[in-house]
């Protein structure tokens, strides 16, 4: 992402909008600019902000005049008055930033839409996580921290050493050069993204060991890790995970509940 220097009036609205804090004002030039290394190409600024098409020279003049009288205009905080936010043409490897950061975009690098898969949201149709199994979603970088692939690789390598088999339809799995060892391709290891999700499943008897390992490795990373675990319920809606998670000391309040209304043919 770029800020068009001809159009920018340094109003500063976009500075707060950026989830990665990658936009700031250059006080010498009196223009906003994007730190390309920190920008994850999430398009939150470009898509989320509303736009006006005011004349930049006029806006700068009015702002200077108001400044003389120590007055300040209180504009809407989500508006770029001169439509100065401009997307870049992205090429490999930078394009993976957008693929893993912009929720609207189809996953161009992998052909998979979104950052993860359907998890247990379609388990009533796919039976992906069967009775006696646990499905995991280990997400990196969210909320508001971001992550580089080299940190994700530390986790995938550690999980691979436990004999974990990664979900094949997951975008991170597509980035692996060796799915047995969890090795991620070298040319993207330094790319920063908003978040990525690693998915896999195990027998339910392995839940405690997996979660302990995820916790251990997470402590060595430079980012935050959000963890979800799922299972299929019994006929009465009961879940075998309740007891395991309680025993491991997890408090769980929120989650997703699949109501079982899906079927294979529509």
């Amino acid at each position: 992402m770029q800020i068009d220097q001809q159009k920018c009036v340094a109003c500063g609205n976009c500075v707060a909008i950026c989830p990665m804090g990658a936009i700031s004002i250059d006080s010498q030039k009196n223009r906003a600019f994007v730190n390309a290394d920190e920008c994850v190409e999430c398009y939150s600024c470009f898509r989320g902000m509303s736009m006006e098409k005011l004349n930049p020279i006029l806006v700068r003049s009015i702002r200077r005049l108001l400044k003389v009288f120590r007055l300040r205009f209180d504009p809407e905080p989500d508006v770029c008055p001169t439509s100065a936010i401009t997307p870049d043409e992205l090429s490999w490897p930078r394009i993976v930033r957008r693929a893993f950061s912009d929720p609207i975009v189809t996953h161009e690098s992998t052909g998979v839409h979104g950052r993860g898969t359907e998890e247990v949201k379609t388990n009533d149709v796919t039976n992906r996580v069967g009775a006696g199994e646990a499905g995991y979603v280990v997400e990196f970088g969210r909320p508001g921290v971001g992550v580089r692939f080299r940190d994700i690789e530390k986790m995938t390598r550690a999980l691979a050493q436990m004999g974990i088999e990664f979900e094949l339809k997951n975008p991170v799995t597509h980035m692996m050069t060796d799915k047995k060892t969890g090795k991620i391709r070298d040319d993207i290891l330094n790319e920063k993204i908003l978040s990525a999700i690693v998915e896999f499943k195990t027998g339910i008897e392995n839940v405690a060991a997996v979660l302990r390992r995820v916790d251990e490795v997470s402590k060595t990373l430079e980012t935050v890790v959000a963890v979800g675990v799922a299972t299929r319920c019994d006929q009465t809606g009961g879940s075998a995970l309740d007891a395991i998670l309680n025993e491991e000391g997890f408090s769980f309040v929120r989650g997703k509940t699949n109501l079982g209304l899906g079927h294979a043919s529509l």
Partner: protein
């Protein structure tokens, strides 16, 4: 996507937060999904959701690319339900957000009768979601638990900011922007309703809950 799984807050703070979404299984039942998803949204609309959206094409609250300067004094926060329903053009995740369980139960009952064949999930407090399902005559098939955050949690924002910012699970709401709006609400520069509407425009999936956001802004103002 886990875009609604890890909302931050206590159990009580989710009392007015229920996201019901429909999703086809890729390669299995997605061939005729578009019409079914539109039907889901049309049914949802009858129950007056506080937000609604299609993960691929946008929500009822959207940014505008053609504003004129009067917007700074007369900002419209109208919800565009037609844009969401008519915008569905490919298999996706469609969602509707409600702020009370009774409406969710009534909605689920109608979905059950409609027999769309799409997978229907409730993202909410687990006990509340199970209760809604049971009141609609359904036991849960599968469940996914949020176990919270591991790793460098000291890099995360404060509780108040996270409760608002994590309502867009895709991370489109920056902590700095949320803090800015909280300060503006405290200073009386914007109302909680205006601040909530502003945040809602950044959540393209339509899962942001403006009712909960309004309540959180009100609490911040006290």
């Amino acid at each position: 996507m886990t875009n609604t799984l890890h909302r931050h807050g206590s159990a009580e703070s989710f009392n007015d937060d229920y996201i019901v979404f429909a999703i086809p299984a890729r390669g299995i039942n997605d061939t005729n999904a578009v019409e079914k998803q539109r039907r889901f949204l049309e049914i949802a609309r009858k129950y007056q959701p506080v937000n609604m959206g299609d993960a691929s094409h946008g929500a009822i609250f959207r940014s505008s690319k053609e504003l004129n300067p009067t917007v700074h004094w007369r900002r419209q926060a109208a919800a565009d339900f037609d844009a969401v329903v008519n915008g569905v053009s490919s298999p996706s995740t469609v969602a509707a957000v409600f702020d009370n369980p009774d409406t969710v139960v009534a909605f689920i009952k109608e979905l059950k009768e409609a027999d769309l064949g799409l997978s229907i999930n409730i993202s909410a407090a687990l006990d509340k979601a199970q209760e809604c399902g049971r009141r609609a005559g359904l036991e849960r098939h599968s469940v996914e638990y949020s176990l919270g955050f591991f790793g460098q949690t000291d890099r995360m924002a404060d509780r108040q900011t996270l409760e608002l910012a994590t309502m867009c699970g895709h991370g489109m709401l920056s902590s700095n922007f949320v803090r800015k709006l909280v300060e503006w609400v405290k200073q009386g520069r914007r109302s909680p309703q205006e601040a909530s509407a502003t945040l809602a425009r950044f959540c393209s999936c339509g899962v942001f809950n403006p009712t909960r956001a309004c309540r959180l802004f009100e609490e911040a103002r006290k």
